[in-house]
Symmetry: C2
Subunit: 172 residues, 2 copies
């Protein structure tokens, strides 16, 4: 596991003291969510050019939404704040190493860099384990625990063709 | 790629004609979203004991939310409808093989089974490629394209300890 030091941040021009300040804000989000029974002890903030444009704490328990991870909520709000579906120059500070769902969201959002405080082993020790999802994603789809079965229907093929020839479509 | 036939569904007790009907509903969602410029040509529905409890089409363009994939929206709504963060006996019908973010969401939601109509190769041909995310997830975190750097702060460690000893916490 790589531990942060000043030399590794030459391309961000952000001093270590600022990184720590932002990480503390992500931790504060997590404390708030946990203590108010919103969800697990996870928080995240997204910073663009020195401004916090999105933040979130885990809300799985309060909203009954299994996708309401801190990182997903912070991304959703940062995109709403900036009115764009890409966050190319933004930095994510998250309490814990993101799960595969959140990594997927981070890549779709094109976030620039991730800082995290605790890793998946730390999370596993307190009951949050995502190793099984990493393992599943590495398998061919026919070998996964949740069975995936193909149903080929002509309207599905036509649908993709209609997208391919659609005029003035927005690409994302 | 496995193609559906009657023999593979003995454990669901749902006839092929019903699976096709549900898949057509997922395709209908996708057509609606695409033609109304909500997002790409993707749709999904979630069925529990013969009842559609959640549906969605891709809304990335309209909402500027990169996490607004059809499957994520259908899961979120199905959980809202049933007021639970698990969908253990639910079946997901989705137009296209889910991306890693959506697979993560599906596993967190504990969905029982997935049916899909088009696969990731079909999606790639019309400009939607998620292979890079699968590749990234398979790498050690220090080798990934989006750099991940650890910042260890004592309040983060204390946070996880507070969760571990928290009384009456909801486990999910």
């Amino acid at each position: 596991m790589r531990t942060m030091n000043r030399n590794k941040h030459e391309n961000t021009n952000i001093p270590l003291s600022m990184h720590k300040k932002y990480m503390q804000q992500a931790i504060d989000e997590a404390y708030f969510g946990m203590r108010n029974n919103k969800g697990g002890p996870f928080g995240a903030i997204i910073v663009l050019e020195g401004v916090v444009i999105g933040k979130g704490f885990n809300e799985v328990i309060a909203t009954k939404d299994p996708t309401a991870h801190a990182e997903v909520l912070a991304i959703r709000r940062a995109c709403g704040e900036t009115n764009q579906f890409h966050l190319r120059n933004a930095i994510l500070y998250t309490v814990c190493e993101p799960c595969p769902m959140c990594i997927g969201a981070i890549y779709w959002a094109n976030i620039k860099k991730i800082y995290y405080c605790l890793d998946s082993n730390d999370a596993s020790k307190i009951g949050f384990d995502d190793k099984h999802i990493y393992n599943e994603l590495a398998k061919p789809i026919n070998d996964r625990a949740i069975k995936m079965t193909k149903i080929s229907l002509a309207p599905g093929l036509n649908l993709f063709h209609e997208w391919a020839v659609k005029k003035n479509k927005v690409l994302y």
